[in-house]
Symmetry: C2
Subunit: 376 residues, 2 copies
Amino acid sequence: MNDEFYMQLALNKAWEFQILTYPNPAVGCVITDRNGKILSCEAHKKAGCLHAEPMAVFFALCALSGEFLAKFLDAYGAKFSQNFSGLDELKSAELEPNFTYEFILAYHANLLKGAKAYVTLEPCSHHGRTPPCAELLKRLNFGEVVIGARDENKIASGGAEILKNSGVRVKFDVLKDKALELIAPFRAWHDGNFSFLKIALSANGVANGGVISGEQSRTHVHKLRSVIDLLVIGGNTVRTDRPRLDTRLINGGENPDVLIFSRRQNFDESIPLFKVPGRNVKISDSLDFDAKLVMYEGAQYFLNMAAKREIPNLKWLLIYQSPNFKDGENLKIGLNLRPIFRGSFGDDSYMWCEILADTSKKAKFSVQSSANLCEP
Amino acid sequence: MNDEFYMQLALNKAWEFQILTYPNPAVGCVITDRNGKILSCEAHKKAGCLHAEPMAVFFALCALSGEFLAKFLDAYGAKFSQNFSGLDELKSAELEPNFTYEFILAYHANLLKGAKAYVTLEPCSHHGRTPPCAELLKRLNFGEVVIGARDENKIASGGAEILKNSGVRVKFDVLKDKALELIAPFRAWHDGNFSFLKIALSANGVANGGVISGEQSRTHVHKLRSVIDLLVIGGNTVRTDRPRLDTRLINGGENPDVLIFSRRQNFDESIPLFKVPGRNVKISDSLDFDAKLVMYEGAQYFLNMAAKREIPNLKWLLIYQSPNFKDGENLKIGLNLRPIFRGSFGDDSYMWCEILADTSKKAKFSVQSSANLCEP
């Protein structure tokens, strides 16, 4: 298998945490030992948590050495020492970054000497909330680091230089375009704003009539709500659905501020979204605001606006699609999309995509001209 | 990474050739060297071609030894010796099975001693059109063979015994349920009949109004047409679309026999499907026939029948879905599906799935009760 294969694994892992790492970029990392065996595949999950590289290093060391793992569990204290159920428990925990980083430096026992890391983004060189990743790979004597996209962030870049200067081989630009696309949201909010529109559909394009997507998809929506700066929703949706728009499906989620896009200012104040604690609600007929990371939730209305480029700074759509057919009307619009990443949450699929063109007129014409049911 | 990770890679590869291996089962194989590095990931592609194991063994040897590859290109003659563009060219070629098998035995140079094979189905023990795979793995001194599903086919089973008796470690039942699901079509046609319904949809559930899916999806449909025993299509579709239903997008494809499901026997004989060479066309209002592997092509009409369990022996749906929205009416039906496998062809996604239940009544009720646009 070539470098592209391992980089793709790292990219896929990073995409699982797209947006959720805000304000940090999504990053994935795969580590293979000196013989080419995969030891770990990890990602940065959340700002304030370990970066992708120390995550992958940590789990590579756990895979190589029961002694390393035992020592860690011991040092980490009671949290894991009783009834430890295995690595999956560690993976779902939020390891304390500085403690874990220092523990790795103290106990790696040179087990990763000559190993190879595939990182979707150039390892950072700066002391932020966590120590620099390039330094870690260097001090563990990695043999080679393969990088997807170069880091052009002035504060964090320079990691490749640190590595090269200490004799680590560095290869750039493996699946570079995909690696750049992964951090497009990061680059957009870093330079100003990243906005996306989330919709949920049945397999046959129905967006109304009760809950569409499964619990895993809805949990993902709540995770997104927890990190965004602002949630924008249409006034009619608020009146009809009386939503809560909170993060109750996740532990410790923060409830997002809400902007209700509406000309009419009067809303029934018993609608649940107004009573969610720790939230500001604004009602406005303008989409001109300052937030850096914005999620639009809606369907036909915002989709029509998006197709006409009437939503400022809208970059991507996030479409959840259930495998089920619902007996109802579909969203009516002609729209060409470019899929950027596809994944699944349980039985649902989801797709991050970009709007290419509004094809309403063309599509209407061809609907009138033929009823071609089978693509002969 | 654990055994499940590698077995999943083998399963994914096998699914790419689901149905296309008829009358053989779909099988995938991953080979790692004695140190755990992945050397190859291959599948059985077509009856009469190499099985998954010799395919994976061949490409593992190519990855390990330039000398092996050079000798093979030399021995295989002019086909590859001029302007050879690399392994991808070999991968897309149909290697002559017996020649390649014997070549492996002659030149493997013990390079795979101690290697590990992950096979979705127990390696075969019988001389069919190709020599037995268990014998090959044994003679190359593999250290371990990890098996997804046991082979219960009396002619081909016994491979694990051959391996165990010569000291190869054998591990069974890794991702067994998924491995059994992969060969469900094989087991169905082996015991009688496997029928599936293929539909193509836009992202918002529109199935008419011109071509829906992209060229890669349509090429896949032509590959399916080339292996099935019978294509069933509705009479109205034939009258409206005047389809050809051939295999023109692939080289050397066979055109399937067609059954037009219709009460009325009169059709305009200038409809292209009647002029396709090498084909029998039958017009019937009965779905009672003998074919072992049957594809239904259609949309609303057959989907309604499928939901009501009115298509005999229908096992699965195959749904191609483009990422685009088409401004038109969707298929109207309430139907719960269970996804079995999801993949993509270019920008389209596709899903093999099973029908769980017709939910028309329930869905109609919830459509009437609410216009919940955002899943609050």
